[in-house]
Amino acid sequence: MPAISLTHYVVLSALLFSIGLFGVLTKRNAVAVLICIELMLNAVNINLVAFSKYVTPTDFIGQIFSIFVITVAAAEVGVGLAIIIAIYRNRLSVNLDDFDWLKW
Amino acid sequence: MLRTQEYFLNFGPQHPSTHGVFQIILTLDGERIVKAEPVCGYLHRGIEKLAESRTYTQVIPYTDRMDYLAAMLQNLGYVQAVEKLMGIEVPERAEYLRIISGELSRLASHLLATGVYALDIGGFTGFLLCFRERERVMDLLEELTGSRMTLSYARIGGVADDAPEGWLDKVKKLMDDMPGYIDEYNGLITGNEIFQARTKFVGQLTPETAINYSLSGPVLRASGVNYDLRKVRPYGIYDRFDFEVPLGENGDCFDRFYCRVREMQQSVRIIQQAIEQIKEVDGPVIAKVPKVLKPPKSDVYHEIESAKGIIGYYVVSDGSNKPYRVHVRRPSFINLGYLDEMLRGYLIADVVAILGSIDIVLGEVDC
């Protein structure tokens, strides 16, 4: 059995990212889209940490960066959910297909 | 507080803090109450209808079953109404025994209300400590009447029996102990900051509203309305006793609760005075009344201050030995009438606080 290398993590990350992207593109529920975005961000985090470990093990840049990613993700979820709730209160819907007011 | 869609919540009829089978259909927005619709009648037994086919004496046990927590006061209201109808004079000693047993009943009821209110707010220990003393009160009542709750002690023209040997001393002893107990409740429940935070300025009632909605008892007096029938229109021999009417300031849940606590102290005072005075009174405990009671064709309304508020009996006689119509003005029932408006805008936890502070007993609400 081959040892686990950087490639494994990169592939895992790519697959996770794709799954998340698929969700973002195809889910109807706004909350579902939000959590799929979280999946994508996690995929990014895997990459960051894996590169940090394999490429620059003593610098921790990747880890610190992913801490910031996590921070941003938390903020994003908070604000995103707030927006969804605000929209829901006005429209009684979280269906993204209904949110087409950008179209004139 | 975040808002949600409005939704319904069936608060009861099987709910730990509705004090029986009572239902409130709450319309909620988050935890905030938008509308509250009280639904009662789960314990309706048709006592008013039953009374029409019973003789005057036979109605007495049914009155017990309304406010079973202060049964003596219910009996008293009824028998005094019938006595008024027939013009019967009650012997002195019977009057004193009525006062003592009635005030003991009130004490029992208020002890329960105090304890259960602590439980409603979440303090279990206060509940059981109050029950400990209530047990002593009920032991005394049991010794006097043979029953613990549904006393059926009053009779038209007097009371069923004279006090047993040594009973008055036992009452006196309990009365001497009560202030200490009440201090303990005040320390454990009343003085607690959390309790006060939960109850102060919750469910406030202005005096005008309270009067307009015919609220009575501690609920009315907590709003600062000095209206206690024992003082305003003394019935029986209440004018012989020196006591105060505790009043609230804000008309909130805390005042209603604390009014009851202070009323207990006043009850103790009344009983102590009654025990002092009864020693000089001797004689029969029941007036000479005919075996078959046939009041003249008339109607009468008589009201007394029960533990929950003003209980009134409207008795119509058609000259036969059975009442033509008996109606009871039940304080718990009428005190509940303002519940909807009182609850609006408060949280679910306040429902319990407000409902508990009104101190209802469902046997009386549903009659």
Binding site: - | C40, G41, H44, G46, E48, K49, Q80, K84, T209, I211, N212, Y213, S214, L215, S216, V225, Y227, V232, R233, Y235, G236, S298, D299, V300, Y301, E303, I310, G312, Y314, V316, Y324, R325, H327, R329, F333, I334, L336, G337, Y338, D366, C367
Partner: protein, 147 residues
Amino acid sequence: MKEKIAPVEEIKQKFGYIEVDEQKAVNVPAGKLLEFMQALKDEYELDFLTNLTAVDYPEENKFEVVYNLTSTTKAYGLMVRTGVDRENPVLPSVFPIWGGANWQEREVYDLMGIVFTGHPNLKRILLDDKFEGHPLRKDFQWEGGRE
């Protein structure tokens, strides 16, 4: 037991249409009820509606609705009765005058079947909404009791 009763004679002089019986209770025709009650509250400070109930008199073909009023300031009371036709038991609600009539009128409606016009929420209170009949009427028949 001293009964304190509102100055009935004075009221009688003021309102000619009322009748006062020997118990100093007042009988009011149903048509004048609201006007009379409002006057009682405003002028005689009878601000507390303690009791509201009804009695069925099938022989006289009427219901009698009884109002017991007291005053929280003057410490007197007054009993007011009014008769309602048994076939068409409709009476104006006193809810606008005393909020305390709210549930009491519902109770009377529920058990006696008297309709109070102007009541905000007149529906059954003690009995089930599907219940038929009004049990406190003298001619109410019910099967299913004990024996």
